[in-house]
């Protein structure tokens, strides 16, 4: 049996690499055109090519989102763009438009097409429609529960991908133009202003809000494996490197240990706590086991916690002084207990002793994010290792 895929979001080339190094099997990216994150940095064609080469060398895959809702004018260049992206050796397109799906399958049968969640696919007959159109994989709507996912897999035999972690839309994906009406930014062409996180005045004493908690399915990965889901998707192409490393690393460990049957309660609690600490909002499993209700809403206002755990990103090793070279991300000081973790999954408990600047001048504390620092450490660690506060 193939191991379930862990699919990660990559807003740029560095995130793509970090995701893959920390254990993602595949990444999804946006190009400069036709992606629903028009305001992310997004990938140029050269970067798509480089990203594909990097992934393929590791035996991993890259999917490109092409999931806007197309207007007439968007159709003018899209065929040319698809052709260029195919030549970058992309593994799959994530698409919502039925015409674009049929176009790709007709002209590039070697490339997979995944039906975007933007289509809000919620039942097996709709899946059958797209399967007959040649779609290789369906990203189901986030409103679909465990029983329904299992039934769709059983009745259609199609590869199914589900979201397991990250922010949620309040409305059916694709069935929301709040951003268009409130901010004039087109939600379905990559301009979503996340109006579902706004507070609206009304006749009641408290503002009307509709924001939802984030999704966290860590507890249910085993269920998803057992019902035959093909791919587990993390949301958030605009998230930080630390967030991605933590989330991908944690889910990598959960998935692997389920297959190896060695996930202890203690380790799961630790991983769950890490996921909780890196999140900036409360989480829930939403529709997975029941209808979502008021407990899945976020009624505490826009209090989004800024996480200070991420202390630094390892960029190299000073052999002469036996020091890790890192870029500071948050304040820390001698005596702090930290964990240094690597893309390969190694972890080292470490107590900060002396902190040096890049010229080996000793500092009292690390108080300037982005400053290059050095810490005595006996081992050379991989690039993209990170330090987090314990």
């Amino acid at each position: 049996m193939d191991k379930i895929e862990l699919l990660a979001p990559a807003g740029d080339l560095e995130r793509l690499k970090v995701n893959l190094l920390y254990g993602a099997d595949s990444v999804y990216i946006g190009g400069e055109n036709y992606s629903l994150r028009a305001n992310a940095i997004n990938f140029t064609l050269d970067e798509i090519k480089e990203g594909c080469e990097f992934a393929h060398k590791l035996g991993k895959k890259v999917f490109l989102t092409l999931n806007i809702v197309f207007h007439n004018e968007d159709m003018e260049d899209v065929f040319n763009y698809i052709d260029k992206v195919v030549k970058c050796n992309i593994d799959a397109f994530i698409v919502s438009d039925a015409f674009i799906i049929s176009y790709i399958k007709k002209n590039y049968p070697q490339v997979e097409v995944h039906l975007s969640t933007q289509n809000s696919t919620t039942n097996y007959e709709a899946v059958n429609y797209f399967k007959e159109e040649g779609v290789d994989r369906v990203v189901l709507a986030r409103e679909v529960g465990k029983k329904e996912i299992a039934e769709i897999i059983e009745k259609t035999g199609i590869d199914v991908e589900v979201f397991i972690h990250g922010a949620m839309c309040t409305c059916f994906s694709g069935r929301c133009a709040l951003s268009n009406y409130v901010t004039n930014r087109d939600a379905n062409r990559g301009g979503c202003a996340q109006v579902c996180r706004f507070a609206f005045a009304c006749e009641e004493e408290k503002d009307f809000t509709l924001a939802t908690k984030d999704l966290n399915m860590a507890k249910y990965i085993k269920d998803l494996i057992e019902i035959g889901v093909k791919s587990l998707k993390i949301e958030g192409r605009m998230r930080s490197l630390y967030y991605l490393a933590t989330v991908i690393g944690s889910y990598r460990r959960i998935i692997d240990s389920i297959y190896e049957d060695n996930l202890t309660t203690e380790e799961f609690s630790l991983l769950e706590e890490r996921l909780k600490r890196v999140a900036n909002r409360e989480t829930s499993s939403h529709y997975f086991l029941r209808e979502a209700d008021w407990t899945d809403q976020y009624y505490t206002g826009r209090v989004e916690v800024s996480n200070q755990d991420y202390l630094g990103l390892v960029t190299g090793y000073d052999e002469e002084n036996k020091c890790l070279i890192l870029i500071e991300r948050n304040y820390f000081k001698p005596g702090d207990k930290v964990e240094i973790f690597t893309p390969k999954g190694d972890s080292y408990d470490y107590v900060v002793d002396k902190i040096y600047d890049e010229d080996m001048n000793e500092l009292e504390v690390a108080r300037h994010p982005e400053q290059i620092l050095k810490l005595k450490f006996p081992l050379k660690l991989d690039k993209y290792s990170m330090l987090r506060l314990l």
């Binding site: 190009g31 400069e32 036709y34 140029t44 064609l45 806007i68 809702v69 197309f70 207007h71 007439n72 004018e73 260049d77 763009y81 260029k84 039925a98 015409f99 674009i100 049929s102 809000s120 919620t122 039942n123 097996y124 007959e125 709709a126 059958n128 709507a141 409103e143 329904e148 309040t170 409305c171 059916f172 069935r175 929301c176 133009a177 709040l178 268009n180 009406y181 409130v182 004039n184 930014r185 087109d186 939600a187 379905n188 062409r189 990559g190 301009g191 109006v195 507070a199 005045a201 009304c202 006749e203 009641e204 408290k206 009307f208 509709l210 939802t212 979502a292 209700d293 008021w294 809403q297």
Partner: protein, 286 residues
């Protein structure tokens, strides 16, 4: 060009319209009122000379599918002009059950280009209700380039979003107050009002402003638009019936009566996205 209407009450008025939209109870959302199968059958019998469209525009889940098949087969016997659908399950079932009733592609905010309209047309979907978030210029281009018969909504309080969540129930549960099914909310920066309505299948959002597209009907007529749609969202029902009669007459007179346009300026100057293009950031790739 035909005039298609949706009324807010089941007492269908004696006025001039070419076709009517009837949302089917339990199978449609965003309806002004909902009709059961018997009621639809009776209306179809009573108005044999008019076009009868039924709306089945909700997102269906696995548990809905068996009954959806049955209802589609029942509807097929009535001789409807068409069925509005959002969920592709409806198209899949039409094809697998060999149903003869035509379909209207009604994926609310997604019907935005002529190529995809044509794609669905080749799949047996005869009509397309165009999205409300595109410009008049885009609408005209679609109408002239697609083979599908196009419908354009020119009068309504526009539906803005739909959620499966019971957002008013949730809000009032948090407030610890009895739930209301409808709430007007104010977006604080733009000072614009929205209507939040909770239905059996979720929560709908509408802009609390009438799109007045009476001034663009002539443009649509001139590019051979097949249908315009007016929904009964005016404060006064009688005023809506008068508008329907006047619009019918206006179209019948080849949209040459300038008095009509002047008269209905009173409905306001909100023209939604007809002349206002939304923004987003898509850079050209070199």
């Amino acid at each position: 060009m035909k005039l298609l209407v949706e009324f807010r009450s089941k007492q269908i008025p004696d006025c001039n319209w070419d076709g009517i939209i009837l949302p089917l109870v339990n199978y449609a959302v965003l309806g002004k009122c909902y009709y059961n199968l018997d009621e639809i059958e009776n209306i179809a019998k009573k108005y044999k000379d008019r076009e009868i469209f039924v709306s089945l525009n909700k997102n269906f889940f696995n548990d809905d599918i068996v009954k959806l098949k049955e209802i589609l087969q029942e509807l097929d016997k009535i001789g409807l002009t068409g069925i509005f659908f959002y969920d592709l399950a409806v198209l899949q079932l039409k094809n697998s059950l060999n149903l003869k009733t035509d379909l209207v592609w009604n994926q609310t905010h997604m019907v935005n280009n002529y190529r995809t309209c044509d794609y669905y047309f080749t799949k047996g979907v005869k009509y397309a209700l165009l999205g409300k978030e595109i410009t008049l210029s885009e609408i005209k281009e679609i109408i002239t380039k697609t083979s599908a018969k196009c419908m354009v909504e020119v009068l309504s309080k526009p539906s803005v979003a739909f959620s499966k969540r019971k957002l008013l129930t949730n809000y009032y549960t948090d407030l610890k107050k009895p739930c209301k099914n409808e709430l007007t909310v104010l977006e604080k920066i733009t000072n614009e009002k929205y209507l939040v309505k909770e239905e059996k299948d979720g929560t709908a959002f509408y802009k609390d402003k009438i799109i007045n597209g009476t001034s663009i009907i002539k443009d649509l007529y001139e590019v051979n638009c097949d249908y315009i749609i007016m929904r009964d969202d005016l404060e006064n029902e009688e005023e809506f019936y008068q508008l329907i009669n006047d619009t019918y007459k206006y179209i019948d007179g080849n949209c040459n009566d300038e008095e009509y346009v002047l008269k209905y300026k009173k409905l306001g100057d909100y023209t939604n996205f007809f002349f206002n293009k939304t923004i987003y950031k898509v850079k050209k790739n070199g």
